[in-house]
């Protein structure tokens, strides 16, 4: 098992595997998103309170979920990289951070656009989820800034891994403290909780969207990881052979 894992995580193998993997993640992901979009926009019945504006959750909730998942990826990758000195794990952090920031940004934008007709304002400080998303975005900025200001890749990997681990604990604290804070100020909540209370024709498109976003995220992550692996291994023999092969291994 361990041997298999090591072989799988070996850079040349991963580089080739990821290329095969990308379409297998991207195509189902995009199909799920296409279904979710169609069903969410046209099949699901309008919310009795919010009318058709509720349909924004079909992009907001998946991107908010991905924004947190990407951070967890960074932290777990960093932890594995620090403990087992697995270079590929560090590369996951480097590859996931810009994607996580992009989806955090998307979650903020869509949340804000939802807020305009619902609250009459583009930004509502009293909403705990939007506020924690904003802090999460700053955490991503900090992570990327630290990475880019350390020239030595190995050092940048380890330093940002420590930051991601500290940050992931912080994300939890941010969440609870912001919820407490907004309860003091009678803050509004963005969406009522999904789950059993939601009708099936509303819920299934959402689940499809979440799954589809996850697949697409996987494809994007795999693509960025290939770049990271290639760059980190630029001095090795396998990259040399890859580059010198006619047709290449782009």
């Amino acid at each position: 098992m361990w041997k298999f894992f090591h072989q799988w995580a070996s850079p040349p193998h991963f580089y080739r595997l990821a290329k095969v993997l990308i379409p297998w993640l991207a195509v189902p992901g995009l199909l799920l998103i296409a279904y979710g979009t169609y069903a969410g926009l046209f099949l699901a019945s309008p919310d009795y309170q919010q009318g058709d504006a509720f349909r924004i959750i079909y992009v907001h909730v998946p991107s908010a979920y991905l924004s947190m998942m990407a951070y967890v990826f960074m932290a777990v990758g960093g932890g594995i990289g620090l403990i087992w000195r697995l270079k590929l794990a560090h590369a996951v952090g480097a590859a996931a951070a810009p994607l996580g920031a992009a989806f955090t940004f998307l979650a903020l934008l869509t949340g804000s656009i939802w807020g305009r007709p619902m609250w009459g304002t583009w930004w509502e400080w009293g909403d705990p989820r939007l506020t924690s998303e904003l802090i999460l975005l700053f955490l991503y900025f900090g992570y990327m800034a630290l990475r880019s200001s350390i020239d030595d890749t190995a050092k940048a990997d380890k330093a940002s891994a420590v930051l991601a681990l500290v940050g992931v604990i912080n994300v939890v604290i941010v969440h609870f403290s912001v919820v407490w804070w907004s309860s003091l100020h009678q803050g509004q909540t963005l969406f009522k909780k999904g789950g059993p209370g939601m009708d099936a024709d509303m819920l299934y498109p959402l689940l499809a969207m979440i799954l589809g976003f996850t697949f697409v995220f996987g494809a994007l992550l795999a693509r960025r990881l290939r770049t990271e692996v290639l760059y980190r291994e630029r001095r090795t023999r396998w990259v040399r052979e890859l580059v010198l092969t006619p047709g290449g291994g782009r």
């Binding site: 926009l41 991107s63 992009a102 656009i113 770049t227 290639l230 630029r234 580059v243």
Partner: protein
């Protein structure tokens, strides 16, 4: 047409979906550009080294 208007929320709903599309396409495009850039840099460096030898 009514279905597209989303009960007067059309502008908000459609812009959210459009932004999502933009973010996903942009992320993919950035990733491709960066990959090609890194690949080309490595290629140039290695071929230059080859010629030296």
């Amino acid at each position: 047409m009514d279905a597209l208007a989303m009960g007067n929320y059309g502008a908000y709903v459609w812009s959210c979906f459009a932004l999502t599309l933009i973010v996903i396409v942009f992320s993919d495009w950035r990733a491709r550009v960066r990959h090609n850039q890194v690949y080309r840099d490595i290629e140039v460096r290695i071929k230059a080294l080859e010629e030296q030898e």
